[in-house]
């Protein structure tokens, strides 16, 4: 067997300890009775991102989790979640690194297409994402993403978290495990979706 990386271990320990000392850490429990609907309050404005950066995040996130037979990242307000993370959670250097990543996206489309990311066609945008995805997740070696892949790795992370913990992601795309009983071993076919 191999020694797994510390980063991997910490992520996994958090999950394993869910059983032992605490409860699931990724998605909290959702009560079908008290479930409220949350929408962006009227008059909401980003506190860290500029309006065009907010739009840039929304477009990037929608490419990662697009609308299909269920709504996608934009409808789930992933861009609002990202602005909240950057404002209220990230240490300043990490926030700045993320913002630099957004600027770099524009620099790359300027170099390649002579326009900003938002001015590009959807196909041009997807082409850039494909390149960034390959940089962030090299075939070998496995482990921590290379520095040039940091931004896209992080962008995908916050998009996935933001989407699947949203009301749309948790209840329309996936299902919320109901309360009342625990059934430890049931046929997956009777559920048919991953629990949020």
């Amino acid at each position: 067997h191999n020694e797994i990386t510390r980063r991997e271990a910490l992520t996994r320990v958090a999950i394993v300890l869910g059983g032992a000392i605490s409860a699931p850490t990724l998605a909290g429990a959702l009560d079908v009775v008290t479930r409220g609907s949350w929408t962006v309050p009227e008059g909401w404005a980003p506190r860290t991102l500029s309006p065009s950066q907010l739009e840039q995040v929304a477009v990037l996130a929608e490419h990662i989790i697009p609308a299909t037979d269920t709504p996608g990242a934009r409808a789930a307000q992933v861009q609002v979640f990202v602005d909240t993370l950057l404002t209220d959670h990230y240490p300043v250097p990490e926030r700045d690194r993320f913002l630099a990543g957004l600027a770099d996206v524009d620099a790359r489309t300027r170099a390649r297409y002579g326009k900003t990311f938002l001015e590009c066609t959807p196909d041009q945008q997807r082409a850039l994402l494909t390149v960034m995805d390959e940089e962030a997740y090299p075939a070998e070696p496995r482990g921590a993403p290379p520095p040039e892949g940091w931004f896209f790795h992080r962008l995908k992370e916050v998009t996935v978290v933001g989407y699947y913990t949203s009301q749309i992601g948790a209840t329309q795309e996936l299902h919320v495990s109901p309360f009342g009983a625990y059934r430890g071993d049931i046929p997956y076919s009777t559920v048919g979706r991953a629990w949020a």
């Binding site: 394993v16 000392i21 409860a23 909290g28 949350w38 909240t84 625990y182 046929p187 076919s189």
Partner: protein, 569 residues
Amino acid sequence: MNSYDYDAIVVGSGITGGWAAKELTEKGLRTLVIERGRDVVHRKDYITEHKPTWEFPLRNARLSPGTKGTEDFPIQARTFQFQEACKQFFVNDRKHPYIEAQPFTWIQGDQVGGKSLIWGRQVYRWSDLDFEANLRDGHGVDWPIRYADIAPWYSYVERFIGVSGEKLGLPQLPDGEFQRPMELNAGEKFVKAGVERAFPGRHVTIGRVAILTENLNGRLACHYCGPCERGCSTGSYFSSQSSTLPAARATGRLTIQPNSLVHSVLYDANTNRVTGVRVVDTLTKVARDYTARVVFLCASTLATTRVLLNSKSARFPTGLANSSGVLGRYLMDHHFIVGAFGQIEGLLDHYYEGNRPNGIYIPRFRNLGDDASRRDYVRGFGYQGGAGRQGWGRGAGGRGFGAELKRSLRDPGTWSMGMTGFGECLPRVDNYAELADETDGFGIPLLRIHCTWGDNELAMRKDMAASAAEMLEAAGCKNVGTYDGYRPDGGLGAEPGLAIHEMGTARMGRDPKTSVLNGFNQAHDVPNLFVTDGACMASTSCVNPSITYMALTARACDHAVDRLKLGNI
């Protein structure tokens, strides 16, 4: 005849303080419970219970050190349990600081109910393998009690708190009074079958937890919402709020005083008795004395010892009841964050429903006095863990985006199984807490904590990782990997304190020259002073300690009230 404000004072309202309050009031004593933190009212103050994830601005993020919003919680943020949804039940580190001579993570509650609101709820009886350990290998002092002394008190406690679990008939992990066990999932059943086939004598069982699977005394069976640490309105897990404090309140003899930090215990040298406590109101900073015939310290291991160290007199210049000089010494914690993970192939038509707040347990199998005894370390460890199918989180772990990624995350991923060891820690004199010159905002000296893992713990950890991997591989898991969070350079990762099982510093023992407390948790030096939280522990076993504290507390209360009636304390 003196007149006292109360018959008994209990310092702290967590797991042991709640038990002392229940036992003493039910036995007829007018009891004052003094709590440092704010009041938390059952149900009303569980402000995040059942709240959907999307209603949390950070989606119930794990608030790790250095992130915004953790400025007042630099220590508490070190534990995985410190999350957006339950941060209100952790202490503000700026308000109650301490000094680390080496990394020691002191996780604290600061409210009525203490850490009973956020505890892990795993409950395992000790056995004579544990109570005889110090005597057998010479580390620490011999316990003044054996399993037979505490067994009836375990039963008494289990029947009241409600414990679900499976009986195994193992001498090293005695069975208790169990409600029906929670179910294993398919991945756990797979690993259980493989481990028990490959290693006769080892067992994989569901965790024994203080969570109801059947209704009990007005508390309801668990509804499997998942995150217990937000508080539970149905009282399905044991907390002071759900269980002991209501029982104490029902006697009409309970007074709880929150926002009151104990400065010291009052001592009368003429009678050699404690007479009460001095308290600082944390809101007004006004000091006030309360008197009683007997004092129980249940403030949590290190907080209790801090009170004793700060209770100085001509008779006890280095701290109350410290004629032995060992007060503050022999600090311990379980060492963990070491184990292994593996993938399970197949079982893709198996899933589960509901959020089971519990995992699996593998009881100790090392150094049981048989052929399996190790030469490289003494004592042993158990594992906690669980299996599950990967969720949507795997979406950020690999290449791919767009509709295809979204479609693939609609189904759960492969099964994986993880386990982490909880290892016994030897009592060592050079692991200790002392009073520093610096004081807190209430004028009380801070604790300075010195604590490191020793050679025995570090040798044991190697086996904890290797044995976990060995079992997963024997069970048929793939891609098995080990991990160990310990940083030899003194960094954070698996530092002492992190298991939140801190024990010792006012240990029980047979000899007043080498221990602070006798076999009834009564101070050798001062007969009406009792310590029943983790400070009393003379060794750690490898199992989670809380139920042993509860049983010792109930037993000590019984003893104290007997002695009060006889008039000899």
